[in-house]
């Protein structure tokens, strides 16, 4: 213990968890190799599967419990089903899932309108907090958005050529 720095002893709790025998430490510390017996443990009771649950093809079944939030649906659901045909080892699993997430955002907006709810994007983005804590940042965002929108409109309407001729 010759390495104990004298000037650190004032720190409350210094060294209380020193354990020279803690090697190898977690996550190998409690290794028992139980997994060598394979998928053989007594499984917990099984949650009834009464919604669509996609499961990784790197395992044989649905786990004993599972989440029931937002089952796959619509176009994004079709993309997710395709993704789960591929293993976690493949980009064909993860990239379609990211694509499905983006499609799902559009589906969410459509669903909002269908239910008569107009999404308040500014509130959802927490921009009230910008007004309170970061007005300069908010003005910068508004200015950049206005600039990009104006440029896009000019390009799309072909008016940028007329402006270029004038100058």
């Amino acid at each position: 213990m010759e390495n104990i720095p004298e000037d650190k002893r004032h720190i409350k709790g210094w060294g209380v968890d020193i354990d020279p025998k803690n090697d190898p430490t977690y996550p190998m510390k409690h290794r028992t190799n139980e997994e060598h017996k394979g998928y053989s443990w007594e499984r917990p009771s099984l949650q009834p599967v009464n919604i669509e649950v996609l499961h990784s093809n790197e395992r044989p079944n649905v786990t004993a419990v599972f989440g029931t939030s937002t089952p796959p649906s619509g176009l994004s659901g079709m993309i997710r089903r395709y993704a789960f045909k591929h293993s976690e080892n493949s980009y064909l699993h993860w990239l379609p899932l990211l694509l499905a997430d983006r499609v799902n955002v559009v589906e969410g907006i459509v669903d909002d309108f269908k239910q008569g709810h107009v999404p308040n994007i500014f509130a959802e983005k927490g921009m009230k907090a910008d007004w309170k804590h970061d007005k300069a940042g908010l003005f910068q965002k508004v200015a950049i958005t206005a600039l990009v929108t104006t440029a896009a409109v000019l390009i799309l309407t072909g008016k940028h050529k007329e402006l270029a001729k004038k100058f």
Binding site: M1, N3, I4, P5, K8, K12, G13, W14, V16, D17, I18, N22, D23, T25, Y26, P27, H30, T32, E34, E35, K37, W41, R43, P44, S45, Q47, V53, L54, H55, S56, V62, T63, A64, V65, F66, G67, T68, S69, T70, S76, A83, F84, E88, Y91, W94, D101, N104, V105, E107, G108, P119, N120, E124, K125, G126, K128, A129, K132, H133, D134
Partner: protein, 383 residues
């Protein structure tokens, strides 16, 4: 009931959703009293985690009162005030039996690489989380832990993730007395990792970040050295110089996918999603640790690939240890540390928001406004 509702990248709101139900004999329903927003929630918030579905409720750090239990629940009862580890673990599989509660094999159908986590996308099991008035808690005989009498509720909620993750980061570093420990990231987990490094006998603890108010907080709270990498020409060279050109004994990545500090990593990892997040902190950790040293990773990355100097891991003979915190395993010791005043997790909480202000809470935390370090959401019934 009121619940946070994810609508797309950087868009969340509060909505009325159906009450959760008992779906399995080991389920419990918990009335939430506190629910944190975690730094790793920001990966979801920014749309960087695959299979994050619109309509999901986030939140994996929460406490509450048990209001209903399934027929096989014996370890907790209605009326108990519990803190709920973020891992969903069965306690029966080969991995749970080895105390790898973050790697349960019976809680996540969608991916084998990660155990079930509350409110953390379908890649982590598709469970609605605790940023709500009520939440379904599977395997209630394993995870939920009764909050000891007299413990402050803010301390209790920090024991669900931040404290165990920070502590395990230090533990996995295999710190020896006198070691120099460098923590990359001065978020709540990084600050806690720096604090816990002393418990394992570190001789010097350094924390690196670029957010000045967090560095100042870390300097005082964790009694460590704190440096802004923006003011260092190269943080790796700085670590080498300050360790007499040896490198740190242990480096901890407590940042994960949202790291700043390297334009190429930021563009490819955070903007274009060409890699599973920006791996700047891990890159620095590998290069700043000594030969034969240990890199401990608790920063969260996505499930695909990252650009890190793996050749240096080989050539320097490094050991890399990493995992989601095994909360249940660590709770007895960490509860002791909180009760003995060795750890004061509630001091990290800078903001309390009403659950209804969830959009502002995410935005303030994400953009580091108002000197936010750790925000907590409080549902109306707990206010």
């Amino acid at each position: 009931m009121l619940a946070m509702n994810y609508r797309g990248p950087r868009r969340v709101r509060i909505d009325n959703k159906p009450m959760p139900e008992i779906l399995h004999p080991e389920d419990a329903i918990v009335r939430v009293t506190r629910s944190c927003v975690c730094g790793s929630d920001l990966h979801l918030y920014n749309g960087n985690v695959p299979d994050t579905r619109v309509g999901m409720t986030f939140g994996h750090e929460f406490t509450g009162e048990i209001v209903e239990v399934g027929s096989e629940v014996t370890k907790v009862k209605v009326g108990d005030n519990v803190l709920v580890p973020f891992n969903i673990a069965c306690g029966k599989c080969a991995f749970c039996k080895q105390k790898l509660f973050g790697n349960c094999h019976e809680s996540n159908s969608q991916a084998t690489a990660v155990g079930g986590i509350f409110g953390y996308s379908h890649t982590a099991g598709g469970y609605d989380g605790g940023q709500a008035e009520y939440v379904r808690v599977p395997y209630a005989n394993v995870g939920p832990t009764v909050i000891p009498e007299g413990m402050h509720p803010d301390d209790a909620v920090m024991l669900t993730d931040v404290v165990p993750t920070g502590y395990q980061a230090a533990e996995m570093g295999g710190i020896q007395p006198g070691d120099t420990v460098v923590v990359f990231g001065a978020g709540p987990v990084g600050i806690m990792a720096a604090k816990c490094a002393w418990l394992f006998g570190a001789g010097r603890v350094i924390i690196i970040d670029h957010v000045e108010y967090r560095l100042e907080f870390a300097r005082n709270y964790a009694q460590c050295e704190a440096y802004n990498f923006r003011s260092l020409e190269d943080p790796v060279v700085f670590i080498k110089k300050t360790t007499d050109w040896m490198g740190a004994d242990v480096c901890i990545d407590a940042v994960g996918a949202e790291a700043a500090g390297n334009a190429m990593q930021t563009i490819t990892g955070r903007k274009l999603l060409l890699q599973a997040g920006s791996a700047t902190a891990l890159h620095w950790a590998i290069n700043a640790v000594k030969k034969g040293g240990i890199v401990s990773v608790v920063g969260v990355y996505g499930p695909t690939d990252n650009l890190v100097p793996i050749g240096n891991v080989v050539n320097k003979g490094l050991t890399i240890r990493a995992n989601q915190a095994s909360v249940k395993r660590l709770l007895p010791r960490l509860i002791e540390h909180v009760q003995n005043g060795i750890l004061d997790p509630k001091a990290l909480i800078t903001h309390h928001f009403a659950l209804e202000e969830v959009a502002d809470a995410y935005h303030i935390f994400s953009d580091k406004l108002d000197e936010c370090i750790k925000p907590v959401l409080v549902p109306p019934s707990a206010q």
